[in-house]
């Protein structure tokens, strides 16, 4: 191993991104494909261990910690990036290429960081770079979504930072390993990570922002932020039981919202939440098999979800439309996009002989091994539900259903179809021959046999009857030109609510205080000090009417004769003494 190879793969992409605008024409696109491919090769060459540390502000930062867990994520991140860049071969926009490479580089940085400071740096770097992929669409909606996206990620980042600072102060260590002590610090870090993992209620940034990104932007975004969180959780939070609950909630939540959605990319966005739910549940179970399941499922998920986003991206690219109510009948003119998209849909649904079937059952079997009845049942229900929304609903409403008269044709750029073809091949390859994937799994476990006759029959039963339910209840699933309110309403409408709360709340206090102090107390005091002495003087000084009027004028004007003033003051003092006597 030469020293030059100990260069963090993250920097290849991040530094390489800087050169993108300088390269002309097609060479730029070839260069953009070559960078992640080079990073993939470098990862394959890295030996295990802490390979590169840098002294920084009194800490030894570990920039390149390599083990099986970081490698499996490194492989899939760079493999996916290479194929995605093939898909984006037509794209001339340097800004998008730069943000994509920077973002993927950030994800690799997190995966190979051995300490919390490096992790935090790359974490925030990802948030910033990914925002540009949303803004690149250059529509008012994208600008709004990008703004909300970055604000929420910065919030999550701050929670993470607070946890990291507390952790370093408490333990004196910056190392990023399993958080065995369950302290406030570890829970804050967990909360920060869960924001990026799109766990409810902080999940709505995903379904809000990803569908507003560009065709290739949404595709790239779908793979990295949530899966980086999955990696971080596997390393730091294996066996945290709360994650079983979070995962189960996510798995079901994603299905319900995907069923409500009309926008095809929003359906896919919600299905990310559903799929990440499986992984997080696996992490919560915390056995070698469930953690391997989470890693394997993340691997397969990145590939089939990219395929689905590519297919949806091609439809958006060709028709300019993404709503199910405006799409339909595209199988006639986009057969390849339909076939590839359907393969992705089958893979996400864990249909036997596709990649989902060789990864997801690891998690479900781990739940069985731990005798976790409810999580097992929920994951089974969620498996059936995935077929419902991503397996059938997406291809059915986009490519079949009612013909809307659209005749777009396949994407004119052959590389888009090639990229989809490669992804589809991988989905089927990993489904039929999972050995290479299983060899990459990070933890030692009993060999898993994915294909048993009874297992396959049970899975087909589950899926075919789900399909039957879909078509029996098709009328209930009729698409409407609507969106569904999700928790993003809190921060979308938050500004207006904040204003109303402040207006009604603080201004009320202001008004009440004004009434009490200005009109009440101040007026009372003024009257007391101006009318009090006058009334007292008039009460004790017998005089005729003219004299009384004169005294009243003097007091009102503040020019009462000195003798009288002294007398009144003495009287006041006397009265005050009497009143305060015990």
């Amino acid at each position: 191993m030469t020293a030059s190879l100990l260069f963090p793969p993250a920097f290849i992409l991040i530094l390489g991104a800087l050169l993108v605008p300088l390269i002309p024409g097609k060479a730029k696109n070839i260069y953009v494909i070559a960078l992640p491919a080079l990073a993939f090769w470098m990862i394959s060459q890295l030996p295990h261990g802490e390979l590169l540390s840098v002294h920084f502000f009194g800490h030894d930062l570990s920039l390149l910690r390599v083990d099986k867990l970081s490698k499996i994520f490194g492989y899939v991140f760079t493999l996916n990036a290479t194929i995605v860049c093939i898909y984006a071969f037509y794209l001339k926009d340097s800004q998008q290429h730069m943000s994509a490479l920077g973002y993927i580089g950030g994800a690799l940085g997190v995966v190979f960081s051995g300490d919390l400071i490096t992790l935090y740096f790359f974490w925030e770097w990802m948030a910033v770079c990914s925002t540009f992929l949303i803004l690149a669409r250059r529509t008012p909606k994208a600008y709004g979504a990008g703004y909300r996206y970055v604000m929420l990620h910065l919030f999550g980042g701050l929670v993470l930072l607070a946890g990291i600072v507390l952790h370093i102060n408490g333990t004196g260590s910056i190392g990023f390993d399993a958080f065995t002590d369950r302290t406030l610090a570890s829970y804050l870090i967990l909360a920060g990570i869960l924001v990026n993992a799109a766990a409810p209620p902080f999940h709505a940034w995903l379904s809000d922002a990803y569908p507003e990104a560009t065709v290739t932007g949404g595709l790239i975004l779908s793979a990295y932020t949530t899966k980086t969180s999955v990696y971080t959780l596997i390393r730091g939070y294996a066996g945290y039981e709360i994650l079983i609950v979070v995962g189960c909630v996510m798995a079901l939540y994603g299905i319900i919202y995907a069923l409500l959605e009309n926008d095809m990319r929003r359906i896919l966005a919600y299905s990310i939440i559903n799929q990440v739910g499986f992984m997080i549940c696996g992490i919560g179970i915390g056995t070698a098999m469930s953690l391997n399941g989470a890693a394997a499922h993340a691997f397969c998920h990145i590939i089939y979800k990219s395929l689905l986003w590519m297919s949806a991206g091609s439809v958006l690219y060709m028709t300019g439309k993404s709503k199910c109510t405006e799409l339909g009948g595209l199988y006639k003119t986009m057969p390849w996009t339909m076939i590839f998209g359907t393969i992705g849909a089958l893979a996400i649904s864990s249909v036997p002989f596709t990649s989902g079937y060789t990864s997801k059952p690891l998690i479900i079997e781990a739940a069985v091994n731990q005798h976790l009845v409810w999580p097992w049942l929920i994951l089974e229900i969620a498996s059936a539900g995935v077929f419902l929304h991503a397996g059938i609903k997406f291809p059915y409403f986009v490519f079949f259903n009612q013909d809307r008269g659209l005749r777009p044709g396949e994407p004119p750029h052959k590389t888009m179809l090639w990229a989809m073809g490669i992804m589809a091949f991988l989905c089927i390859f990993l489904g039929c021959y999972p050995a290479p994937l299983y060899a990459l799994l990070p933890f030692e476990m009993e060999p898993h046999v994915p294909y048993t006759l009874s297992g396959v029959i049970k899975q087909f039963q589950l899926l075919m009857l789900s399909a039957l339910a879909f078509f029996v209840f098709l009328k209930l699933l009729k698409r409407t030109d609507t969106i569904a309110i999700d928790t993003d309403i809190i921060w979308r409408k938050g500004g207006r609510w904040f204003y109303i709360c402040m207006d009604k709340g603080l201004n009320f206090v202001n008004y009440a205080f004004n009434e009490l102090m200005h009109k009440g107390a101040a007026t009372g005091l003024g009257r007391y000090f101006s009318e009090g002495p006058l009334n007292m003087t008039l009460a004790v000084l017998p005089a005729d009417e003219a004299k009384r009027e004169q005294i009243t004028r003097y007091f009102r004007a503040g020019i009462s004769p000195i003798g009288l003033s002294v007398a009144v003051a003495a009287l006041y003092l006397f009265g005050f003494i009497i009143l305060t006597l015990p």
């Binding site: 409500l260 087909f460 399909a467 409408k493």
Partner: protein
């Protein structure tokens, strides 16, 4: 002028009916097949014959109906946030 004939197989009623039959047939086949294999139930209740089929149909029906009911409350117009 010759137009390539459009592939519109899925649009014909006859073919749709065929697909319906295929769907029902496949469903039945998957359930019948269970009789010929030895299944290993994990818990007590999942050993019931056709449990996966039952679970698939029932859970999906519940999910669809639940989503429909939630939709009555949660669905708003496209421009909800723009107004």
């Amino acid at each position: 002028m010759s137009h390539k004939k459009e592939f519109d197989w899925f649009d014909h009623d006859k073919n749709r009916k065929l697909l319906w039959k295929l769907l029902w047939g496949t469903c039945a086949l998957t359930v019948i097949a269970e009789a010929f294999v030895h299944v290993h139930p994990h818990f007590s209740f999942d050993g019931i014959f056709g449990f996966s089929a039952l679970l698939g149909f029932a859970s999906c029906s519940v999910l669809i109906i639940l989503a429909k009911l939630l939709g009555l409350v949660l669905k708003v117009r496209e421009d909800y946030y723009d107004r």
